[in-house]
């Protein structure tokens, strides 16, 4: 497993943690800081900070002075000497908080997405769980829904191979159009929205590689044990890594359309000559991916530089258009430019 990167932890998260920690501690007479940290998946230091804060907090009380009896209390000796938490006095809260409408919605939509996968095929169990979440939230969960899609059969094959620790093999057509037979130690099956990827050790390239499931043909599992990659091999969080050989391409597009290219990490490069357009730079490993990208964004993105990239795109689109123009030979191409 990769080490989870610590996400920004704001006041809302801290408050949620405080409100969640109290009922947990109430249910555990004596619990170590590390056990709490493990259970909540946080650093022990965060648990200690929270316990310190809880132990000094409470309600104003009748005197409005936050007197001793109005505050939470813990066994300080246990805490300071043995790193154990023993809650001895409770104030105001003693139960877990409900989910917010959006929190429940996020989990429900996540469940809908998972329900498309083979091992979560028990629709009734998922429906029961969604109903529980709805009842556990303060407001009606926000309207967020994920459509059910039939999962690629490849997912089950690879999943079984990951569990069994065996290799898979398949023919793979890469973005440049080269078809090669691959034997791979499957490490993880990963998805981004509706796109599925296999990440694993490629015996042909002798390196970690990411493969799109929809570019695989003739996938089959084998009896060959996969090598162990427990040591030294870390799967980066990002699916694809840039390389020093990447080419820089200058494009022109409406500034507002930059978001359409977010996956390519465009770097804004000032306004273009034409009104309303701006320039940006993107990095690509070769022009073959670029020509597909730009042709799929007709009228929005134009390649400016280098000329070779421009030409690759023009040739690609021209070859596509030529097939229709040849078919319509003799007929006037209505509305066609030039």
């Amino acid at each position: 497993m990769t080490a989870a990167k610590p996400a920004a932890f704001g006041a809302s998260d801290k408050l949620t943690f405080l409100l969640s920690l109290v009922p947990f501690l109430m249910d555990h007479d004596r619990v170590s800081v590390t056990a709490v940290a493990d259970h909540f998946g946080v650093a022990p230091e965060r648990v200690r900070d929270a316990v310190n804060l809880i132990a000094m907090s409470g309600v104003p009380g009748e005197t409005r002075q936050y007197l001793h009896g109005d505050l939470f209390d813990i066994q300080w000796d246990e805490f300071e000497t043995n790193d154990n938490i023993v809650l001895t006095h409770l104030v105001a809260i003693d139960d877990s908080p409900r989910f917010s409408a959006r929190e429940a919605a996020a989990l429900i939509a996540g469940l809908q997405y998972l329900s498309a996968l083979p091992e979560n095929g028990d629709r009734d169990a998922i429906a029961t769980l969604m109903a529980k979440l709805t009842r556990s939230s303060t407001g009606a969960p926000s309207q967020l829904a994920v459509s059910h899609t039939d999962a690629d059969v490849a997912i089950s094959v690879i999943q079984a191979a990951v569990r069994a620790g065996t290799q898979v093999e398949f023919d793979y057509l890469n973005a440049r159009g080269t078809d090669e037979h691959r034997c791979v130690d499957p490490l993880r099956i990963q998805s981004v929205d509706s796109d599925w990827y296999l990440r694993g050790w490629c015996h042909l390239r002798e390196a970690m590689r990411t493969f799109r499931l929809d570019r695989m043909s003739n996938l089959r599992s084998t009896d060959v044990p996969a090598d162990s990659h427990d040591d030294g091999v870390v799967l980066p969080d990002t699916l694809f890594q840039g390389s020093a050989d990447d080419l820089t391409v200058t494009i022109e597009l409406p500034a507002a359309a930059l978001e359409l290219l977010a996956d390519y990490g465009p770097v804004p490069h000032g306004p273009a000559a034409a009104e309303g357009l701006s320039r940006a730079e993107v990095r690509v490993s070769h022009f073959h991916g670029l020509k597909r990208l730009v042709s799929g964004l007709a009228g929005v993105v134009t390649v400016v530089d280098p000329g070779a990239a421009r030409q690759t795109v023009a040739d690609w689109a021209a070859a596509g258009a030529a097939r229709y123009e040849a078919a319509a030979q003799g007929e006037p191409a209505a509305g066609a430019p030039n």
Binding site: L15, P60, I108, L117, K132, T138, A257, A298, T302, G320
Partner: protein, 346 residues
């Protein structure tokens, strides 16, 4: 600096919010704003008796919003003697509505599934929402059963419009945004009451009531360009349940009804990928593809260049050809080389 008798230990934001929640749960009859500002930890230190507390009051307003965002039911009660007066409003958090219902329990398998569901959100505002949901779930002290190994499904909601649309839905607000409709090159402003956000065929869609058209419309989140802003003073009653299902059902029906017939170049990227998505057509190398929007499919097919040839419908043929010509013509060699760099020999 006003002299305070107490040792002014700096009160963190979370301590102030935590103290506010505790105080409002502990009270039965509610606390007035003056009670809160003068007695609750984090406010009282900055409260000036008989002085100007305007900035402290604004702080309290923001804190109230933040607390409600977390699903904590902070209520306002009007004084029966003085209805409509802000001065005598009382605030409280009813414990019965704050506590998770007593009969709700989750099994270790369910906890495992919920953890996986939360982990699906890797980026964007929903990852923070699901992280907080998990923290609350962890407070129940139930250990999860062993997770499925080697498995990392993820949904990405990186569109910037996601969060403002979600907030607007929760608050029943009407929003406006610039929309770059597929097939058009200039964005147009839309005024929409958002009803649901749904993922269909790998794309996030907004389903909402178009205030100008007077009908429901579906928008692609990826095509919302520029910020989503709320339209002041325009709110709608909360939509009834099932808007998400309705939006998906409409998209599904549309998808079922519309079929394109294409041929793919054998052995090409298009052949491998599109053949998997569609069904084999009547002729060799032909594929039938269902679709929801002719312009979106045309965008995608144009990307395959000469690897795809559309046979029907004619609207799709025209749309793809038009795109290919636009790309070809807009990438014609430049009249003069703007940069001193040799063009590739052609």
């Amino acid at each position: 600096m006003s002299p305070t008798p107490e040792q002014p230990h700096p009160v963190t934001v979370e301590e102030r919010l935590f103290s506010l929640v505790l105080a409002l749960i502990a009270t039965q009859i509610g606390l007035t704003k003056a009670d809160i500002l003068s007695t609750v930890q984090g406010y009282r230190q900055r409260f000036r008796v008989g002085g100007d507390n305007a900035s402290l009051e604004r702080q309290f307003e923001r804190d109230k919003d933040d607390i409600r965002e977390l699903g904590i039911p902070l209520e306002t009660i009007e004084s029966p003697d003085d209805p409509g007066s802000n001065h005598h409003l009382r605030y409280r958090i009813p414990k019965g509505l704050y506590d998770l219902p007593a009969d709700i329990a989750f099994s270790p398998d369910e906890i495992m599934l919920l953890k996986l569901a939360a982990a699906v959100w890797r980026e964007g505002s929903l990852s923070a929402e699901s992280r907080r949901a998990l923290t609350k779930l962890n407070s129940l002290g139930i250990d999860s059963s062993d997770p499925v190994i080697g498995y990392a499904p993820s949904l990405r909601a990186r569109e910037a419009s996601f969060e403002p649309l979600g907030k607007a839905m929760d608050r029943g607000q009407v929003v406006a945004f610039l929309y770059l409709k597929p097939g058009e090159s200039a964005p147009r402003r839309r005024v929409i009451a958002p009803l649901a956000v749904v993922l269909h065929e790998g794309r996030w869609h907004l389903y909402g009531a178009d205030q100008d058209a007077g009908a429901t419309r579906t928008f692609l989140l990826a095509r919302i360009v520029g910020p989503v802003v709320t339209v002041p003073g325009r709110t709608i009653a909360p939509a009834e349940d099932g808007q998400g299902e309705r939006a998906l059902a409409e998209l599904d029906a549309l998808w079922q009804a519309q079929v394109a017939l294409i041929t793919v170049e054998p052995g090409s990227d298009a052949a491998v990928r599109l053949s998997k998505r569609g069904e084999p057509g009547p002729a060799e190398d032909s594929v039938e593809l269902h679709y929801t929007d002719v312009n979106i499919l045309a965008d995608e097919l144009a990307g395959y260049g000469p690897e795809v040839y559309v046979l029907s419908p004619s609207t799709l043929i025209d749309a793809v050809l038009d795109r290919l010509r636009r790309v070809r013509d807009s990438h014609a060699p430049l009249p003069e080389t703007p940069l001193p760099r040799p063009e590739a020999a052609r």
